[in-house]
Symmetry: C2
Subunit: 694 residues, 2 copies
């Protein structure tokens, strides 16, 4: 059996190499596409530089944070250094740093390719939908392949070298730390710029979106990249690593067959990556086809390939169980179904978006009220889906023996995330074509090209809603298995301290209940702090934009040769994002520590549950109402309900502005908050056992 | 010990008689106050008739619902009639009907007095703050005394006659059914009318609030009464009965001292009512004093009296425990503290409201974003307070023996609700003075009087926020003890069926987890359905108002003698409220039954937990952001941030419109939804045991 595991380590590295090679091929393919328009090149360069500025400063702050965290980890984890094996602590600290670095590299290269693809996509749009789609999609796919490759590489290397799945939690925590900065920081950045640009440009001056006179326009385009490409990539890197890590922690704690089960986790990850490569390679817009259909059908192809391959693997390899295969298939299918229901609530060809657009005719209060209401309702199918897939996975795997039921849930999360390479490709496609649309406008490529770019962009928005629903749900299943991982870690610590083991977290215990209520409040406060951060930051940037319009002569009038100081807006967005993000992140970590040191392991178990439940609810609510307002606005702009300039349109613009930080800052950051909190709990479990009050 | 219990039954009836007598005295006192203005009398009569129309139709629908429910209860509960004792089933059905009828009577008389007080308060406002305050407050106090008197009367009578606390759950369910209709239906009614009146009057025509030309103006004033007086009274009747019922179910299941503990529940209820009578009798506005201070200080006086009296009772009576006293004191103190923190988020002399008012200067999107954010943050202190009081109550009472810990929590809820007579008086004061303000305007009593009425009204709004936080928190503690009651009921059923007993609800069990996720989604969907109901209904009413303005000649211009058809608006609000409410109520009950019949008792336990946690979060969020938007608008109207007519004001008006159904329809109805679901679960527990799939 150990031989089988070695085989899978080998195959993991091989598949990662294949993914990296394919990514390199796509990168070179994108790079050799034609660029000819000087204006586009110039703006594209500005965007690239802006993104680099943000990433550099973000990584600098993160490096300081990570250094402090690494020292604390070295001293305290997995056990205080004066009690345990110092080499273990060193391994944990190194794994933590490796987690941050690998994720950072993937993000950095992803941004590089995205900022390379945007201009080329814009120019290809002159030729039509098909070539432009391919550049945008392949640019995004580089990010997808890198993220999944790096995560598999890291997990396999850490486990092969240390043989200890607890160290993996350190690696996973590294990935989460980075994701918190990248997703929440990038989210604040992008919405600061977006809202400020809209308010001063579209609303005050009445100039179009992406007008080069607007000092915030470059920051806005930078934001798409740092928020949606780098941030989302880090987020899914984090989820993917956490899903694998928790499955491996549980697999290692199983009494029987643990090698086969560990092999199985790697085998599924390998086949998922392989299926994504095939899906990416075959993605194309058909004749007169729609880009939305192209993106969705490649997702379905990937799903089908993955299911077939894992079934074959179950036949071929010794110790692989059909029950586990079933659990993972359920996870994947539910993920797809949740994606489809999300689409129902956010697609403008479906009734919900149209109802909100229609309600906007009665004024902005109705836009907001109906959007919030449907957002809340949209949480039900996804939460029911997660609940059912957890229940089914558990029941399928329960007969296999003790511990297998929760292993089944963790494999259900691994199944859901197996096709994450494909999901990220679809998701990163969005900001690239969004940028391309802006560049087409700034480069003066003409109405026809802008219309093509618009069509690409709208497909990006639709698909984004689906992938977001998917990734939130995957995170939901992952944290359930992290709860299992936490219990197994806490019990190790309790056994060592000679205390009674935990057999579960009973909600009738007031200690658990105490944790649940506090845990449920944390995502609400966390998301509120991020939204207020965007709010404050946008007010700073609006002030700067007004200053530029008032003090740079000829700017407002669009005099030739007069350019705004784009860099100043980028600096404001960057500084503000990092400043506003830190208190929110600290709040969630401090709350975890407080609950742990007051109530001990039982309270922490409750805390994690409350956090998951309200986190899922708020994340789904915010992502979906945001998406639905965005599309209601676009639906009205397409000429319905009075079209552009009507009262309904004004109301829908207000809805969209409210939705912006919902869907691009707070909503998707909650994922990361939940994962960070879960990992902090698992890592600190021995300290909670030693030092808690109750 | 049984003698002691008989003593407390006797004392209960005596105190109830005292409360009724005092209420009658206050009623007569209000009635003999001067009325002289013909116009006020006329409008006041219209309001009274409108309220009666709504109540009559609501009670008619309820009667049908109750008849069906009573038949189902008779057939199935507490055990299927072919299995158990038919007399028990009859008692349960009768108790259920008694619960609805007693609550309805209290609501009906409350409305009668409120609609009697509003005109008299308006006229007294000519004389100044002091006399007007007294009429408004005493009018509200009649409702407070009746609600608490009826609930104590019902609980004592049911338990004395049947000796079986399970039958009490039937009585409590009756109270909940009525509360669901009264609170959610009244909430939809009041906000339909309020929003339509504002949109057509203030926004479109620019005529003042309460202008008699507006066809919706009477419906708006009726709404204050049916939503805030009758609805809120039914809601707190329901909470109070549920708190006592669950404490009594748990007390009866305790192995030792159960008579003393049952006596204790009644003793606390008696002393709470007595303390409220004293508090009400002494409430007065001091020389140049503020009405807010008068309302708050009478709450504090009541609290102090209650604590002293219960301490004395603990000394005097055999078997009364200091630990239980401690638990109940903790509940009460935490209730007061939560009230104060709620006040911090919603009072316009505090920074939060001012920040939202300031953000409104940047446009309505910022009003909404900041209001939602602070609303989410405001949930933290209340949830932490509930968590801590549950934990402390549990820990204080745990040493008393098995089952006492959860009894301690239930007594903590009883403690929090003991002063509910005072809370309702404060709360019912609000709509009376709100009406009075409208009447002062419609009766042409002059600027000075309107200003006085405004001051009374603003105190009502501030106090309302506090009492709402208080009642949501009390409901939170109550449902925890209902969870305990559910477990004890489910175990009775399991024991009878010869199955394994439940020792708790472990969140690691996927069945429990399944219930938790579905339970958490229900309050979100429930509140969304109510909000959408208001939305739809308001659009119907706006259409009717436009019709009247267009087809009744001279109405818009205010020609003398031309009157709008007020009745049509009242009919629309009434019909719509009842129509929109039923699907939301059914959805929550059906979800409970589905979860119960799929997952059995374990899933239901999880369902209740998820329901409580997300219900608390959403209710606090909605009530507080609604209150804060309301006060931010008023703050701007007082001349700050540009004052009336400024851009900030327009934005704040939009915030207020969004907040209206948040704070007066959905937020406070969630309480009732949680209680209904908890009671359905407890009542159906034996059926879940017999017929569930898993």
């Amino acid at each position: 059996m150990e031989n089988q595991l070695s085989l899978f380590y080998g195959l993991s590295f091989l598949t990662v190499a294949l993914a990296f090679a394919f990514a390199a091929y796509l990168y070179l393919w994108v790079k050799k596409q034609r660029t000819s328009n000087a204006r586009i090149e110039e703006v594209s360069l500005l965007i690239k530089e802006g993104a680099n500025t943000f990433m550099r400063r973000e990584y600098l702050v993160l490096a300081k944070f990570a250094a402090v965290a690494a020292v604390i980890i070295f001293i305290l984890l997995p056990a205080p250094v004066w009690q345990g094996d110092i080499l273990n602590n060193l391994a944990m600290a190194i794994a933590y740093i490796a987690g941050t670095v690998l994720s950072a590299i993937a993000g950095k290269i992803g941004i590089l390719v995205a900022t390379l693809s945007n201009g080329r996509t814009a120019e290809a749009a002159k030729e039509g939908l098909k070539p432009a789609f391919l550049i945008g999609f392949r640019g995004g796919a580089v990010m997808g392949l890198l993220v999944v490759g790096c995560s598999l590489l890291g997990v396999a290397a850490v486990l092969m070298l240390t043989g200890d799945s607890t160290i993996l939690l350190g690696f996973s925590f590294g990935a989460s730390s980075l994701a918190l900065f990248a997703k929440a920081g990038g989210g604040i950045f992008t919405k600061t710029a977006d809202i400020s640009a809209d308010l001063t440009g579209k609303v005050e001056l009445g100039i179009p979106e992406d007008d080069p006179r607007n000092p915030a326009v470059i920051a806005d385009n930078v934001g798409d990249n740092v928020g949606d490409v780098a941030g989302m990539g880090a987020d899914l890197f984090d989820s993917n690593v956490a899903a694998m890590a928790s499955a491996l922690v549980i697999a290692q704690s199983l009494a029987s067959e643990s090698f086969a089960n560990i092999s199985m986790v790697f085998c599924y990850a390998i086949l998922g990556l392989f299926a994504s490569i095939l899906g990416i390679a075959t993605a194309r817009v058909g004749k007169n086809g729609s880009p939305t259909r192209a993106l969705n059908s490649s997702t379905y192809v990937t799903t089908a390939i993955f299911l077939v391959l894992t079934a074959l693997a179950t036949v071929v390899f010794e110790g692989f169980s059909w029950r586990i295969w079933g659990a993972s298939a359920v996870g994947l299918l539910v993920g797809v179904i949740i994606g489809i229901t999300t689409d129902y609530f956010t697609d403008d060809t479906k009734p919900i978006v149209r109802r909100v657009a229609h309600a906007s005719g009665s004024g902005p209060a109705f836009t907001i009220l109906s959007g919030i209401s449907y957002g809340f309702i949209s949480a039900l199918p996804a939460m029911a889906g997660i609940a059912i897939s957890a229940l089914v996975a558990y029941k399928i795997c329960e007969p296999m023996g003790e511990g297998y039921a929760i292993f089944g849930i963790s494999m259900s999360a691994v199944g859901m995330l197996s096709i994450v390479g494909m999901i990220i490709s679809n998701d990163a496609y969005g900001p690239i074509v969004d940028n391309a649309r802006g560049l087409a406008e700034m480069g003066g490529l003409g109405e026809e090209t802008i219309r093509t770019a618009d069509e690409l962009d709208s497909a990006g928005n639709t698909v984004k809603a689906v992938t977001k629903g998917f990734s939130i749900s995957a995170a939901g299943l992952t944290v359930i298995s992290l709860l299992g991982a936490f219990m197994s870690e806490a019990n190790d610590a309790l056994a060592e301290a000679g205390k009674e083991l935990i057999t579960g977290f009973d909600i009738m215990s007031p200690t658990v209940f105490f944790g649940i209520l506090i845990g449920a409040a944390v995502p609400a406060v966390f998301s509120a702090m991020l939204i207020l951060g965007v709010d404050k930051n946008a007010q700073r940037m609006v002030k700067e934009i007004h200053r530029q319009f008032n003090s740079i002569p000829g700017l407002k009038e669009g005099k030739k040769g007069v350019k705004p100081e784009y860099g100043k807006c980028i600096n404001i967005a960057t500084a503000g994002a990092l400043k506003e993000l830190i208190p929110a992140g600290l709040m969630s970590i401090v709350a975890t520590l407080l609950v742990g040191f007051i109530g001990g392991s039982l309270a922490v178990g409750g805390f994690l549950l409350g956090n998951i439940v309200s986190g899922l609810l708020i994340a789904l609510f915010m992502s979906n109402s945001g998406g639905l307002w965005d599309n209601a606005k676009k639906y009205i702009e397409s000429g319905e309900e009075g079209g552009k300039g009507s009262e309904a349109h004004k109301a829908a613009v207000i809805g969209d502005t409210v939705g912006d930080p919902f869907k691009d800052t707070a909503g998707p950051s909650i994922n990361t908050q939940i994962t960070v909190v879960s990992l902090v709990s698992s890592l600190m479990s021995s300290l909670f056992v030693l030092f808690s009050i109750f």
